[in-house]
Every structure is written in structure tokens, then in C-alpha cells.
């Protein structure tokens, strides 16, 4: 198994270095998220009142923040929060969007028409503002943040899957499955879905990047997760006031972590799209 998988992995990373680098960055953050309790040098929420705003160096390579908490430990602990929001949000988006896209693409007709017009209409709301406003309206609990981001993602997944379904609807294997008397749900989930899911997988990485950004933005504005929780957006919010007085490390390090994680997800998504879309690949040659 591994003997076959290795050359393939090497081949993929040679064809798409973007994909490979993105994957490695994410692997790093995943390790940080899982191992955080064992590798943080300090408790990320332990305040040291006599060691406030210490510059980077010595026992605190990233310095300490306004409460005397170790910035490095907080940046490491933040990875778990980013994954903890992005993964469930994308799962919600897929669970709602994919079956909807399957059904509406297969059924076609007025239902499909209305659904697509509705999704088009949603595009007039700037996505960031819509997410912020709905989360603020629903109440900024962690559950609501995940739910709102996931629901706003679902049209993206529905659209991608629908496009695939339209191309497959009249293909031979679908026609024969129907002729054999399979019920609609079986045709959709057993016969069409495995052939239509690839595009959605590439989107999943891009949407996860968006989820990480939005949840950090909410926390930065003070609407989402509150300090002293080690969440990157909330940490940048704390750091904002110190930037103009020179204690840059409080806000800069969580910002770099946030950029790297979003960059990794975007590179993964970009690479997957290139790999999966033969037309796009032909165009890049």
C-alpha cells in the first residue's frame, strides 16, 4: 500500500508544488492543534501580573501580552480553535449543500430555476458583512458562528455539485441505473455522488480558509470568541492597542499564524482545483 502510495505522492507534489506546500503547512498546524497540550511552554491562559508585555526572548520567544500570558503558547493553542471552527463549518456546508445540489440538478425544471436564482440573489450581500450581521443577530455563541458560516457556505457546494450532476444526468450509467428501477435517492447518492464530489472537495479547502478568516474577524471585532480564549482574531484585537505603542509582538505573531493557516488552505484548494480540472490544467500549460 505505502509502496504504491509514495511514488504517487511524489508525482502529485511534482505536478503541483502548490498543493504539496499547502498540505505541509496544514499538517504542521494539525500537529500543533493535536499536540498543543504537550508542547506549549506555558499555560496559554495563565496570567503573570509581574511579567506584562515582556519583549520576545528568553523564556518567552514571542514575548508576553497585556495580561502577562505567553504569546507563543497562545499562538500554538489557537490552532485548535481555528480547526475547531473551520472543520464543523465546512461539514455543515457539505451536509446541507451537497444533497441540495444533487437533488436540484437531477430534478431540474422550475425548482432548479428558482433555487439558482435565489443563490444568485444571495451574492448581492457582501459575504463578510452578511456573516457578521447574521452571527450578531443570532447571538455570537460558538455554535451559531459554526452554523452561520456553514449555512452561508452551502450554496457554494450546492452549485459545484449541481454543475457536475447536470453533466452526468443523461450519461449511460445513470440511465441504466434508472432503467433497472433504482429509487431516486439511490441513483443520487450511490451512482451520481461518487462521480460528482471531486469539485466539492477542492471547494472544501477554500471554504475552510474562508471559515477561519470569518471566525477570526468576528473575534477581532469582539463579536465572536472573547479573550482570554487563545483565538488568533481575539489576540490580534488585544494586540491592536499595543501596536501604536511599540509592543508589536502581541498582535503580530497571531496574525502571522492566521495568514499561514489561511494560505495553506488556499494553496491546497488551488492545487486541488488545478489537479482535478483538466481544462484548467491544459490552459496553464
Amino acid at each position: 500500500m505505502t509502496a504504491i502510495a509514495w511514488p504517487r505522492l511524489v508525482g502529485i507534489s511534482r505536478r503541483s508544488p502548490t498543493l504539496a506546500i499547502g498540505f505541509l503547512i496544514l499538517l504542521g498546524f494539525a500537529a500543533m492543534a493535536v499536540l498543543a497540550p504537550f508542547i506549549v511552554p506555558f499555560d496559554p491562559v495563565r496570567a503573570q501580573p509581574f511579567n506584562v508585555l515582556a519583549a520576545p526572548g528568553g523564556a518567552h520567544p514571542f514575548g508576553t501580552d497585556g495580561n502577562g500570558m505567553d504569546v507563543l503558547s497562545r499562538v500554538i493553542a489557537g490552532a485548535a480553535w481555528a480547526f475547531g471552527i473551520a472543520i464543523p463549518a465546512v461539514v455543515v456546508g457539505i451536509v446541507v449543500g451537497v444533497p441540495f445540489g444533487l437533488y436540484t440538478g437531477y430534478r431540474g425544471g422550475w425548482f432548479d430555476e428558482v433555487a439558482m436564482r435565489f443563490f444568485d440573489a444571495l451574492r448581492v450581500f457582501p459575504s463578510i458583512i452578511l456573516a457578521l450581521a447574521v452571527v450578531a443577530a443570532a447571538g455570537p455563541s460558538l455554535f451559531n458562528v459554526v452554523l452561520v458560516i456553514g449555512l452561508l457556505d452551502s450554496p457554494v457546494f450546492a452549485r459545484v455539485v449541481r454543475a457536475e450532476v447536470l453533466a452526468l444526468r443523461h450519461s449511460g450509467f445513470v440511465e441504466s441505473a434508472r432503467a433497472a428501477g433504482n429509487p431516486t435517492w439511490r441513483i443520487l447518492f450511490v451512482h451520481i455522488l461518487p462521480n460528482a464530489i471531486q469539485g466539492a472537495m477542492a471547494q472544501a479547502a477554500v471554504r475552510a480558509a474562508w471559515a477561519v478568516r470569518i471566525s477570526a474577524t468576528l473575534a477581532f471585532l469582539g463579536v465572536g470568541i472573547q479573550p482570554p480564549t487563545p483565538e488568533w482574531g481575539a489576540m490580534i484585537r488585544q494586540g491592536a492597542e499595543y501596536l501604536v505603542t511599540g509592543q508589536w509582538w502581541v498582535g503580530v505573531f497571531p496574525g502571522i499564524a492566521l495568514i499561514l493557516m489561511v494560505l495553506g488552505l488556499n494553496m491546497l484548494g488551488d492545487g486541488l482545483q488545478d489537479l482535478l480540472d483538466p481544462r484548467r490544467k491544459a490552459a496553464t500549460r
Binding site: 444571495l122 451574492r123 448581492v124 458583512i129 452578511l130 450581521a133 482574531g233 488556499n266 496553464t284
Partner: protein, 334 residues
């Protein structure tokens, strides 16, 4: 079909769109669970006034009747009163709109001025060093949190280098804003001929405009490259190549055929930028529409949030419409 008929059909499509938008903003306040009577009457309303508003809103009626009442109110230009300032939301928004448009205008102008040539160059020589570098920088631009970029700009150019003024509004606190004509301090200052005001307004503009430019350039690079690559792969370009046309002429051909989709893309990008810019406004205390909307979201002032989201959506509708009209006017196939 004559262009007039096409135009009319396109405008008619706006009506169902408006319906969905209003439904969205109507539901937004319902989700929030706040009492719409309070939102409309404002914080200083007396009991009698509140009773009057409750009746006029048809709150004893089913939800769809209330929705009808809401549509009627919006049609008359009544977006309710802000909880925080007790002023009409529409007036507050219109007051602040020029500051935001100013930021977006200069930002997109610079962003497109950098992004389009970079994207084209990358597409003409794909997979070379320049292409790789521009793709990476564009991905980086996609990944930088807007507000963090603004904070870093302030740290570097205000705190460290002292080249830029502090991020506190659109004009130095020592100066009086110029008499309002357009709402842009820079243009109003030029009209009034006050050098000091113009200088201060310009200095305040530089950093936030730079942020908008960076944020908008990233997708423009990516999209321009993709569009130009697609055009370069078409049959007529291959035909031109086979005929041995010089590369310069082929590039000119590709450019002409890429122009329309690129402009279309920038148009749609502007609608999203209105949201992103609000975060830049927030960091630089810009006092525009975006900062107003974000502050309302943070404070839970849902009359203002509702009006803000509605205005943004209407702005997007206008931009989409303008883009489509532009395409109709320039593309002979449409």
C-alpha cells in the same frame, strides 16, 4: 433583439432580486429577536408613541403582512431610527457614503492598475519565475486578514517610520473639515483651495487606500491571468499564431478579447470590497459607511444594521446592472 428591449429585460430582473433582498433584511431583524417597535420608534419614544408604531407596523397581523408593511416603509425611504444616535438610518448612511466610496475608488484604481498588467504578464509567460512569484503573492494577498494588514501599516509607517499620520479619521484633528460639497475631504479641500486641508486629507488617505489596493489587487491578478490564458488558448489566437503573426500583435489581440471579462470581474469584485473595506475603515477610524455598519453590528443596533445591509445590497445590484450594461454596449455578440 434591439438593445433597448434587452436593457428593459435586464432591469425587470431586478424586481425579484429586490424582493429577496428585502426578505433577507426583514428576516435579519427577526432572527435578532429584538422588538422592531423599539427599533423604529427609537430610544426616546413615549408609551403612546410606541403603541402608535406597534399599530402602524401591523404587529398583530401575520408575518407576511408585516413584511408588506416593511416593504412599504422602505419604498418611502424610511429605514427606521438608529438606537444609538436616534437619527434616521438613511440620513446617517448617506452622510457617510462618500468617505467609503472615496476609499474604494482610489483603492480599486490602484489595485487594478497593478493587478491587470501583472496578471497579463504572468499569462503571456506562464510557469516562468514571474508567473510563479505573482501567483504566490496573489495567494498571500488572498490570505492576509484585512484588519491585520491595516494594523501593520500603522505600526510600520506611523509608529516606526513616522511617515504617516495616526489612523484617526479622514483629516488631522487640528484642522476643520472643508465645507461639504462632494463629501470627499480631498476634493472638497481642492475646491475650497485650502492647501493645509488638502495635504492632511491626502496624508490620511494614503495608508487605507494602499490597504484596499493590496486587498483588491490579489484577486485581479489571479482572474486576469486566468482570463488571458483562456483567450490565448482559443482557436482564433492559435490560428493567428499559425499564420506567423508577431507576438506583439497576438498579445494585442488577446488583450482586446480579455478586456470585457476583466472589467466584469472588477465590477463584481467591488461589491465584495464594500464589505472588506469596512474592516479597513474600522482600523483607521475612517468614519465612513463601513465603520458605521460594523459599529452597529458590534453594538447590536439592528435598525442600523438592517439599513446598512440593505444599502450594500442595493449598491451591489446597481454595480451588477452597470456591468451588464457595459457588456451589452461593448460586446457585439450580446
Amino acid at each position: 433583439m434591439p438593445i433597448g428591449g434587452l436593457l428593459l429585460r435586464r432591469v425587470a430582473l431586478v424586481v425579484p432580486l429586490l424582493f429577496v433582498i428585502l426578505l433577507g433584511t426583514f428576516l435579519l431583524v427577526r432572527i435578532s429577536g429584538q422588538d422592531p417597535v423599539g427599533l423604529l420608534a427609537g430610544p426616546t419614544a413615549t408609551t403612546a408613541e410606541i403603541a402608535l408604531v406597534r399599530e402602524s407596523l401591523a404587529l398583530d397581523q401575520p408575518a407576511w403582512v408585516q413584511f408588506g408593511v416593511y416593504i412599504g416603509r422602505v419604498a418611502r425611504g424610511d429605514l427606521g431610527a438608529s438606537w444609538l444616535s436616534n437619527r434616521p438610518v438613511l440620513a446617517e448612511i448617506l452622510d457617510r457614503a462618500p468617505a467609503t466610496l472615496e476609499l474604494i475608488f482610489w483603492g480599486v484604481l490602484i489595485g487594478a492598475g497593478i493587478g491587470i498588467p501583472v496578471g497579463l504578464r504572468a499569462a503571456f509567460r506562464p510557469d516562468r519565475g514571474f508567473d510563479q512569484a505573482s501567483r504566490f503573492l496573489s495567494l498571500l494577498g488572498f490570505s492576509v486578514p484585512t484588519y491585520w494588514l491595516g494594523l501593520i501599516m500603522l505600526f510600520v509607517f506611523f509608529y516606526l517610520l513616522d511617515w504617516a499620520p495616526p489612523g484617526m479619521g479622514r483629516i488631522s484633528l487640528m484642522l476643520d473639515p472643508p465645507p461639504r460639497v462632494t463629501g470627499s475631504h480631498l476634493i472638497d479641500g481642492l475646491l475650497g483651495g485650502d492647501r493645509e486641508v488638502v495635504g492632511s486629507a491626502f496624508a490620511q488617505l494614503v495608508l487605507p487606500v494602499l490597504c484596499v489596493a493590496i486587498i483588491s489587487a490579489a484577486p485581479i491578478v489571479k482572474q486576469t491571468r486566468a482570463i488571458a490564458l483562456e483567450v490565448l488558448a482559443t482557436d482564433y489566437i492559435r490560428h493567428a499564431r499559425a499564420q506567423g503573426l508577431p507576438p506583439r500583435q497576438i498579445r494585442a489581440m488577446a488583450l482586446r478579447n480579455s478586456a470585457t471579462p476583466i472589467v466584469t470581474f472588477i465590477g463584481t469584485e467591488i461589491t465584495g470590497l464594500v464589505g472588506t473595506t469596512s474592516l479597513i475603515e474600522y482600523v483607521f477610524a475612517w468614519g465612513g459607511l463601513g465603520q458605521y455598519g460594523l459599529s452597529a453590528i458590534i453594538a447590536g443596533d439592528f435598525a442600523a444594521v438592517q439599513g446598512y445591509v440593505l444599502i450594500l445590497a442595493l449598491f451591489s445590484v446597481l454595480v451588477f446592472l452597470a456591468v451588464d450594461v457595459f457588456v451589452m454596449a461593448t460586446d457585439p455578440r450580446a
